[in-house]
Amino acid sequence: MKNSADFESRPLPKTFVLELTRRCNNHCLYCYNEGGALQSKSDSPRNGEMGTAELTDLIAKLCAETPVETIALSGGEPLLREDLPEILSFINAKGIAPVVITNGTLLTPEKVAATKDGVTYEVTLLSYREQVHDKLAGRRGAWKAAIDGMINVRQARGSLVAVFVATKLNVADLRKTAELSIALGAGAIMYNRMNLGAHNLRYADRLLPTPDMIRENLEVLDGLAAQYGIPVAASVVIEPCVVDVRKYHHVHFGWCPLAGEESYFTIDPLGNVRICNHSPVVLGNLRRERFSDIYYNNPYLRLFRDTWPDECKECEPTLKHMCCGGCKASAEQCCGTLTRVDPFVTLSRPQGATSLALPAPVARRRVETHCSPFESPFFDQKEGGPGRE
């Protein structure tokens, strides 16, 4: 761990996530966006999200203040913004590599044609089976539209990363889903075990994959990466005290960059800045403040780096050094404190279900209430066999 002087003089980050909107046309059960998504139609009120001019001004300000190299456009669903092509053109003109994190359902040939230049699309494919994907995405037709979107990207010779979010409902589908992703032209695969947050914690018992499930998935991915040469990144932290990830040599594992140079600070639709997309803590607002002032002066950043979860203090030094305390943002969201460990760790222990004793989840924003999607008739349907388009 670097010392205090190093932290104070650390270089500015080069990667940012812009959450363009909180609107989303899917209703994913596992959604781990910090604020949750507004489950509304594209013509619904925009809840104060910035317009095109405000947004491009903000991007220009960010570029003037930091050495930006990559901007990922996220949401909600970023393709719900009609001005996405304009925003991407602006980013491209700045010489910055844009990434569009999308559910893929709106990647029509026209939208791909209007947005593909220099863009990497990161599309979530939850299963090779239509019903499983649609169940997790919370919407009928989501799978078919996402498959069509991925094909449209391939036909336009765009860059595609396939994302698999591992839950109890789809872990058994990983191999075929990854193979389908490769066949559809994905140039890389991202594997994210479900990350817990204030909005999905209530489904943890039904969705959070067990350590054994994750081990089996990593075996599959390790084999596919070796067989096809496709890069595989396990991005959401898989804490090594839960699963020993060291034996999966073809899978690249992500770790928390702890508010340092490698971090991807996240800017929400209102201009609020957070450490990452999981974190519920607003550090400041980029419309009113300089990024460097937030980055160097906000005391929360040092707290975030230096606070170790109590459960990690006695951990083996090698693992501790590797995992950096796991996903602190998840702990902050679910427990309201950085002194608790990522609840994925707690719930993965044999006694996890009874020992969690979490305080009420912490959400920065008010959450729209719906009936539990598990209880809706849509989710009572029987799962089918292999998906067909």
Partner: protein, 116 residues
């Protein structure tokens, strides 16, 4: 992250860059986080390979002798896979997989044909 330096040689063949280690060639995909101009300067030279634990993935190349070489790509939590990781699936392998999925009923005939 703990680094374990090893030595390899950067090679260039048919428009692609490779890292030769112990007689094996490993592709070095170029992209956002790998400066091609810097990589070009390293062709034929011995480099230290900086790997990160717990994975065997190369995160950077440093010219042997300590001169900075290629800036390491970044794989970080949740952020999209690095664009420099693209382009290593062989087209014939992809096509064979598509055919297999067609035969298994996972890919429809119409979509199979669109994939080419």
């Amino acid at each position: 992250m703990e680094n374990k330096p090893a030595i390899g040689t950067v090679a260039f063949k048919d428009g692609n860059y490779f890292l030769e280690v112990e007689g094996k060639q490993h592709a070095i995909p170029v992209g956002l986080h790998v400066d091609v101009a810097q990589l070009k300067q390293l062709v034929g030279q011995k480099v230290e390979i900086v790997s990160s634990e717990p994975k065997s993935f190369v995160i950077g190349l440093v010219k042997a002798g300590g001169v900075a070489g290629v800036r390491p790509p970044r794989i970080i939590c949740y952020f999209p896979a690095d664009p420099n990781l693209f382009g290593v699936v062989q087209e014939d392998a992809r096509a064979a997989l598509a055919k297999q999925l067609l035969n298994e009923g996972i890919l429809s005939q119409a979509n199979y044909e669109k994939l080419g």
